[in-house]
């Protein structure tokens, strides 16, 4: 009986308190910095090592490379880099494995579209997706050739 009255008191008090909801579609949500969002890709850093393609558990990444157009340099440069967000699970493995931090996570997460075709993102789109890039990348594995700015 006392509990019932206590409960009524709690609900009555909550009525006038500050609301806890987000005004999400009106006001963008700011995600914490280690959020796993849509990838940002920097073609200049990529060394076409194919690690991200191999590690991807859903095989949503596909890339092609070509020989470096500068004949004095060795290695390859990236030609196409596509991520299929129909199946990408944003697991962060591609960005963990990338030795040069060419592919990194951002805080963007809005992927809903009217057509599934829109979910196939190419290199240009991923390169232009350059806002809200995660500041800390692979901080647990700082070896490799990447220059850290943290």
């Amino acid at each position: 009986m006392k509990g019932l009255l206590q409960g009524l008191g709690v609900t009555l008090k909550t009525m006038t308190q500050k609301k806890v909801t987000y005004a999400y579609p009106d006001v963008p949500l700011t995600m914490p910095d280690r959020f796993r969002g849509i990838q940002h890709f920097e073609p200049d850093k990529c060394i076409v090592c194919n690690m991200c393609v191999k590690v991807c558990p859903t095989e949503c990444i596909s890339l092609t490379g070509k020989a470096n157009p500068d004949p004095e340099k060795k290695g390859k440069v990236i030609e196409t880099y596509d991520i299929n967000f129909e199946i990408c699970i944003l697991c962060d493995l591609c960005t963990e494995v990338c030795p040069t931090e060419a592919v990194v996570m951002t805080n963007h997460f809005e992927l809903s579209t009217y057509s599934r075709d829109d979910l196939f993102k190419d290199m240009k789109w991923l390169t232009d997706n350059n806002t809200l890039v995660r500041k800390e990348n692979n901080y647990a594995f700082p070896r490799g050739g990447a220059k850290k700015d943290v």
């Binding site: 709690v10 909550t14 500050k18 609301k19 909801t21």
Partner: protein
């Protein structure tokens, strides 16, 4: 209105009565629309949310949109359902809920039917709705619907008993079943109202009333998480809307009845405030009771079926009976 009822029935009078009925129906539809809106708002606030606020200013058109969606929905009847009964069930549920409103006196002059057995009329007709629910559950040919209908029947019949017995104290004190006279017998000050001498009856009546309305914490017939939806699983579109409508019209009816029986109807709480029109006081008390129903719903968890039956038969019924005896003894001593 009352003198019109006394005169012989002519075509003009029939038209006036029909127009009056339509007007009352529109008022009740308006009430139901905004009762649902405020229910969602109040529950939202009590859970730290805003409630509906996207459709129209402050979300005021949310229920309108919901009802419109229900009305334009395809009307489906399951192939194996008992078609005539399936169609009849929402009608049987809704009509008594609307008809009982006729006997409720809103103010000293705004009375639709001054029955000398008003209370009995209310109780008798509201019992018919249960038949509609169990019929809907049975005609759907669906086990969840049938279970919901059975639970509904068991619950409504169990709680009808304490509900009726709890108001007998009021009837004994007033000496009439006429709702208008019951209000008049309660004085102009709030300590003359029935809820103080009949406090036990009032509490039993409120609990049994919530249960009659199938509202939380007694919403077992419609327990979403246990029975999919209850007796109206197979209903969609405007037939479902009628079940919902009946439910909320009963909220209107029970809140009005509580106001009339226990809270002094249109009387002001203090005699010196009597210059404010009675309808304001009626609406105020009525709104407080409706708010109380929402408040209860936002607070209480659903109770188990055995607890429900135990509460009804072992607690409320003896309390209501005790209330009658105490009232009788008190009246015997003072008389």
């Amino acid at each position: 209105m009352l003198d019109l009822v006394g005169q012989p029935l002519t075509w003009t009078h029939t038209l006036i009565f029909a127009a009056y009925g339509v007007l009352l129906l529109l008022i009740i539809l308006g009430f139901v629309t905004y009762a649902i809106y405020f229910e969602r708002k109040v529950i939202g606030w009590m859970q730290g949310r805003y409630g509906p606020n996207r459709t129209g200013p402050f979300g005021l058109l949310q229920t309108v949109a919901d009802v419109f969606k229900l009305l334009i929905k395809e009307d489906t009847i399951p192939r194996k359902a008992d078609r005539p009964l399936f169609i009849l069930a929402p009608v049987i549920t809704f009509i008594p809920s609307f008809v009982v409103v006729a006997t409720i006196p809103f103010t000293a002059n705004l009375i639709h039917a001054d029955l000398n057995v008003g209370l009995l009329y209310y109780v008798a007709l509201s019992g018919i709705s249960t038949i509609g629910m169990i019929l809907g559950g049975w005609a759907s040919n669906n086990k969840y619907a049938l279970l919901g209908g059975m639970r509904s029947a068991a619950q409504m019949i169990s709680y009808e008993v304490p509900l009726v017995i709890s108001v007998i104290g009021v009837i004994m004190m007033t000496g009439t079943l006429n709702l208008h006279k019951i209000v008049e017998a309660q004085g102009d000050n709030f300590w003359n109202w029935n809820f103080l001498p009949q406090i036990v009856g009032f509490i039993v009546f409120m609990i049994a009333g919530v249960s009659e309305l199938n509202r939380t914490p007694f919403d077992l017939p419609e327990a979403e998480s246990e029975l999919v939806a209850g007796y109206h699983v197979e209903y969609s579109g405007f037939r479902f809307a009628f079940f919902m409508l009946a439910e909320y019209v009963y909220v209107f009816a029970i809140a009005s009845l509580t106001t009339v029986l226990f809270l002094g109807g249109w009387h002001a709480p203090f005699a010196l405030l009597a210059f404010i029109p009675g309808i304001v006081w009626f609406l105020l008390k009525f709104s407080i009771i409706v708010f109380f129903f929402f408040w209860i719903r936002a607070t209480m968890p659903r109770i188990r079926i055995d607890q429900l039956m135990g509460l009804g038969w072992k607690v409320l019924l003896p309390l209501a009976l005790l209330n009658i005896f105490i009232t009788a003894i008190y009246m015997g001593i003072t008389a």
